[in-house]
């Protein structure tokens, strides 16, 4: 008997309600049925499931990320519009040694890095020890390494490991 991941099920039901833009009991039931069927059908295609704890940490993380996003948007906008001042923009790759191992952690990290303009995920080594990102406006590498590890990696490790 395959087991249906409960959180995911709830997420799907909520999705269904959002899609239909309603909270009628009928749709809740329908959504529940459909979601569980889908999960049953798809569970073998998603063998690895996350085990999350201390979810409240995520809240703080998201606040940080939100702030960073706005900041980096402004930053990139200045670079693009050439308002960044006379200094020539120097962009480059940054290698970050990482201690996290959980794929889902990395997934969230990838989301964050992609969502914040000015940084792009380049690659993670096979042994998941070194992460390379590309930074648009690279002034100080160590600053970036610290920021990724402190602000993002630690909370993620708390949640996923």
């Amino acid at each position: 008997m395959r087991r249906i991941p409960p959180i995911f099920l709830c997420v799907l039901v909520v999705m269904w309600l959002l899609l239909n833009n309603t909270i009628s009991i009928g749709h809740i039931v329908l959504g529940f049925i459909l979601s569980s069927l889908l999960l049953l059908a798809a569970v073998r295609l998603r063998p690895l499931q996350p085990k999350m704890h201390r979810g409240h940490v995520l809240v703080r993380l998201f606040v940080h990320v939100f702030i960073d996003i706005i900041r980096s948007n402004i930053g990139v906008a200045r670079v693009v519009l050439g308002l960044a001042g006379p200094r020539d923009i120097h962009s480059g790759f940054v290698n970050i040694p990482v201690d996290m191992r959980d794929p889902h952690g990395f997934a969230v990290l990838a989301m964050i890095i992609t969502a914040t303009p000015g940084t792009i995920w380049v690659e993670l080594t096979e042994d998941r020890t070194r992460l390379t990102i590309h930074v648009l406006d690279l002034v100080d590498e160590t600053e970036w390494i610290r920021r990724i590890k402190e602000r993002y990696e630690r909370p993620l490790m708390e949640v996923f490991e």
Partner: protein, 977 residues
């Protein structure tokens, strides 16, 4: 009734004969003989009636709408010919029984012989001209089969084909003539036509009719210039030559001329054409006959000349001439047939027919010699033989033919000369074969044949003698009835006496005999130096001309075909688009199409900008598609996006939705294909710089520009006209109340015009099946068989490229994407179901839902790898397709049980706890069918394409060039099993 039987019996006999065992010579002969005799008796049985001028009729309605009935009609003339055909048939069968060797497959022979007999009887007994044409063509066909009886001889094949082509062509023109004749005479049956003589002769179509009919008759009767087929028909077995090519079939032409004589003759046109044809044939045939080496050759040419004689008589527009013609038809049949039989006997006995080698056979085969001599004498027109009588009548006619002075002198002279020739060749034939020193070097020792072969010939010779000595007692009455039935009331007075006193005709006969003797002696002096080639005219060999014509015809046809057709696709497409555009522009010009009256709405800069983008993408794609395929693909995708936005902009959300999903799938699909389309290397190709290439590109550019402009103009012309509301208003008004759906477009798709959707999904299913079938036996381009370069690099690190089905996540750069995309799958599924279920009231529906789910699955393939996914799921696309089709179908049929027509929508009220009542529309079931089919088809196509790379995934070694293809074919096969 018995008339039909006379015609039918031979055909039945032929069927039976065809199925007898191939060695049953006697059975065949008995059957055939019985049939022939029976027919003869049946014919003879009718003599009393026809004798006193009755016409026996038998009609079976066949195609009365077009005046075509099976109408058998026997009058005296027909009776005479029927008798000739059946009686001769009997004799020939008897002869053939002994002539054919045991080795020959006789069933074919006798079956075709009988078929011919039937056809010939059909010709003479036809009371309907179309029916006559039918049997006419049948005689051509059967004669073709009989000539080619020994088809292993190229001579036979060739002769048969020549004969068929010439006579069938004649038959076709005869058909044309008869059609006109029928139209003029107001019906195809003979009685009408014969009655309408004056109408016909005075009708403007008369010349056309005459020429067409004559073409038919003259080709059949081997008249100049169509005579050449007959000598080559001699490669047929001798019985066939005796029967078809002397006695009966070749008579069909003159038979027809006499048959239609009352309604066609009597004009100058008739006189000149027919007489000229006859006279030239008479002379030419007789002259050539002198120089033949082959016995049958001599007989063939003499047949030609005698037919010419008959034709000439028919052309003279005089009743007496007609009588003479009919008389000579019978006489010629008798002596010529017996001569052919004699030739066959000689051939049989000695193994050759070559006049050079044959000599002095009289000692070895006295009876044959005697018979042949008498027959030849008849042919030469020696007194006391039938040939003499008719020939003298002929001479008389030439003398008294009433035309101008030139004719009055020339015609008798020519006739006499022809007579001399015929004496000469008859003499030569007999003398060289039967007299002189005994030939030594013959293939076989000559000997008298069995009685069976002699009897028929003997009977015929006897007939010659009887008729020749006692004409009025024997043939008189028959001739009387026959001719009377043709020229009903204006019968001429003539006497069939052997002696008319010293008359000019008698003098001509004597001259002919003497002259002929002299000619032969002169020739003999020349030590028979003839090599079968006719002096003066041998260069004008009709047959060679004919062959050349046929070859030319085919060559010309080939040339024209290359000229009027093309195997190049571009040419075809240019033609199509140009003709379409041309037609449209022409229509616009002719009808003076103008813009409509409605004002144009103001331009929204945003959309304008969007379309500037879209147009740029389209042009870019057009420019890049040759060498930068990926770029072109992406640009086309861009255009698609703009198109989709446009649909949305002009309030067509469903279209936009469908367009966008289709876009995505199409891009993936074409990329999957590009894997197997080896990259083109761009180089400055000299061929692109040739003038022709430039010219073609210029032409295409112009064509494209013109067509683009006209399309734009067309659209604008429509857009500036008021729209018609009839259909849309009906749909909008009935959509909610009757069909219970707010989204009119979707309601149209699943209810108002569900039948379209029904067919549309079938198309998708069919295509999926085809793609699958084609890929089952796909043979990739050599260049793209081995693993792509990028993956080959990985092979240094990994044993094989295929993902391990057991690993949780792909190693390497695909790990994080895999996590995310697998998270996405259930969500996508939910979205697809959402679109499926809400379609009836808001944009969406089965198609979109299906594509969404299919795409979600495909993405799993992209991140996980084919084998990984398939190790963990078993989707059976074919079953999805089938189920989809069945669901849609049953959704339609379900309506039958509610007493409605196919695909009528109906709702089923479902009361559920804590959900309340749910209206289940049958259209939802239909939409589910669409959904399943689309999922199945899309997945099948994409995955079948993706599977191609499995063929090579275990071969790390980069494949060398094409050479290894065949080598590794089996290995792949066993990998696959």
């Amino acid at each position: 009734m018995s008339l039909a039987l006379i015609v039918l019996l031979p055909f039945l006999g032929s069927l039976v004969a065809a199925f007898l065992p191939s060695n049953a010579r006697n059975a065949e002969a008995w059957l055939a003989g019985l049939v022939a005799v029976t027919c003869a008796v049946l014919v003879a049985d009718h003599y009393p009636e026809v004798a006193n001028g009755e016409i026996i009729r038998f009609v079976v309605p066949w195609l009365p709408q077009f005046g075509l009935d099976l109408y058998f009609r026997m009058d005296g003339y027909a009776w005479m010919f029927a008798m000739l055909v059946t009686f001769m048939g009997a004799l020939v069968v008897l002869y053939a029984r002994y002539y054919m060797s045991p080795a020959d497959p006789v069933p074919r022979f006798f079956s075709f012989l009988l078929a011919f007999m039937g056809a010939m009887v059909g010709v003479v007994l036809s009371g309907n001209l179309i029916q006559l044409v039918i049997f006419w063509e049948l005689t051509s066909l059967t004669s073709f089969m009989l000539i080619a009886y020994w088809y292993h001889l190229s001579e036979a094949r060739h002769g048969a084909r020549t004969a068929l082509t010439v006579t069938a062509m004649g038959g076709l023109s005869l058909l044309g003539g008869v059609l006109l004749l029928g139209e003029v005479a107001g019906g195809y049956d003979l009685d009408n036509v014969l009655a309408a003589g004056d109408v016909i002769r005075s009708h403007p179509w008369y010349p056309a009719i005459l020429i067409l009919v004559l073409l038919g008759a003259l080709t059949k009767s081997a008249q100049f210039p169509f005579h050449f087929w007959l000598p080559h028909a001699m490669s047929a077995p001798t019985p066939v030559s005796a029967y078809l090519h002397s006695a009966t079939m070749v008579k069909a032409g003159v038979f027809l001329l006499a048959r239609l004589w009352p309604c066609l003759s009597g004009t100058d046109l008739w006189f000149w054409i027919v007489c000229l044809a006859g006279l030239s044939t008479l002379l030419l045939g007789a002259f050539s006959a002198i120089f033949q080496r082959d016995m049958k050759g001599v007989l063939a040419y003499s047949t030609i000349s005698h037919l010419g004689l008959i034709t000439l008589l028919l052309g003279m527009n005089s009743q007496l001439a007609l009588v003479a013609a009919v008389f000579h038809m019978m006489n010629h049949a008798t002596f010529k047939a017996s001569l052919f039989m004699a030739a066959g006997i000689v051939d049989h006995g000695t193994g050759t027919r070559d006049l050079q080698r044959l000599s002095g056979l009289a000692h070895a085969m006295p009876i044959t010699a005697t018979l042949a001599t008498v027959a030849a004498a008849a042919m030469a027109g020696v007194p006391l033989l039938n040939g003499f009588l008719s020939k003298e009548m002929f001479f008389a006619e030439t003398v008294f033919a009433g035309q101008g002075p030139a004719v009055r002198i020339a015609l008798p002279a020519m006739a006499t000369i022809a007579g001399m020739f015929s004496v000469a060749y008859s003499l030569r034939l007999i003398h060289q074969v039967f007299f002189g020193p005994r030939a030594e070097d013959l293939p076989r020792a000559p000997h008298e044949p069995t009685r069976g072969m002699l009897v028929p010939s003997a009977l015929l010779v006897l007939a010659c003698l009887l008729v020749g000595i006692l004409p009025s007692r024997t043939v008189g009455p028959l001739l009387e009835t026959a001719t009377r039935s043709i020229l009903i009331d204006d019968m001429p007075t003539y006497s069939l006496a052997v002696w008319h006193g010293f008359t000019l005709p008698l003098l001509m006969s004597v001259l002919a005999l003497v002259g002929g003797f002299v000619i032969y002696v002169l020739l003999y002096m020349h030590r028979r130096r003839s090599h079968g080639r006719t002096p003066f005219i041998s260069r004008f060999d009709g047959r060679r001309t004919f062959d050349v014509m046929i070859i030319r015809l085919i060559r010309v046809a080939g040339f024209l075909h290359r000229l009027t057709s093309s195997r190049r696709l571009q040419t075809q497409l240019v033609l199509i688009v140009c003709i379409a555009a041309g037609a449209a522009l022409l229509g616009a010009y002719v009808n003076k199409v103008a813009w409509g009256g409605m004002p144009v709405t103001r331009v929204d800069p945003t959309l304008a900008l969007l379309w500037a983008t879209g147009i740029a993408c389209a042009l870019g794609a057009a420019y890049q598609a040759k060498y930068h395929r990926l770029a072109a693909l992406i640009m086309v995708g861009g255009t698609g996006l703009i198109t989709c936005l446009t649909f949305a902009w002009f309030s067509a959300p469903d279209l936009a939705l469908t367009q966008i999903t289709v876009e995505v799938v199409t891009v993936v699909l074409i990329l999957l294909g590009l894997r197997w389309l080896p990259r083109r290397i761009e180089m400055d190709d000299p061929r692109r710089r040739t003038v022709r290439a430039r010219a073609r590109r210029a032409r295409d550019a112009v064509v494209a520009a013109v067509i683009g402009t006209s399309m734009a103009a067309l659209v604008f012309a429509v857009l500036t006209r008021p729209r018609r509301l009839d259909l849309s208003s009906f749909f909008v008004e009935h959509s909610l109340p009757q069909a219970g759906g707010g989204n009119v477009v979707n309601v149209i798709l699943v209810d108002f015009r569900a039948f379209d959707t029904f067919g549309e999904i079938t198309v998708v299913g069919i295509v999926a099946l085809t793609v699958y079938a084609l890929l089952r036996r796909f043979r990739p381009a050599v260049e793209s068989i081995d693993v792509p370069r990028a993956q080959r690099e990985d092979l240094e690190r990994r044993s094989q490229l295929a993902a391990d089905p057991n690993e949780m996540l792909p190693s390497g750069f695909m790990m994080v994407p895999a996590v995310l995309v697998r998270l996405l799958l259930p969500m996508a599924g939910l979205v697809s179901l959402f679109f499926l279920l809400r379609g009836h009231n808001l944009p969406g529906g089965g198609f979109i839902g299906g594509l969404v789910l299919a795409t979600a699955v495909i993405v799993q393939y992209m991140v996980g790898g084919a084998l990984w996914v398939e190790a963990r799921t078993r989707l059976k696309p074919l079953y999805w397709i089938a189920t989809g089709l069945l669901a849609a179908g049953t959704a339609g049929i379900a309506a039958w049980f509610t007493g409605n027509t196919f695909l009528t929508s109906f709702a089923y009220e479902l009361h559920l706890p804590l959900i309340g009542t749910v209206h289940l529309f049958s259209t939802l079931w239909f939409d589910i069918g669409v959904y399943m089919l689309v999922v199945g088809a899309t997945v099948l196509m994409l995955v079948a394409l993706a599977h191609q790379s499995l063929r090579s995934y275990r071969r790390p070694a980069p494949a060398p060039a094409s050479s290894d293809l065949h080598v590794e074919a089996p290995s792949t096969a066993e990998v696959d099993r």
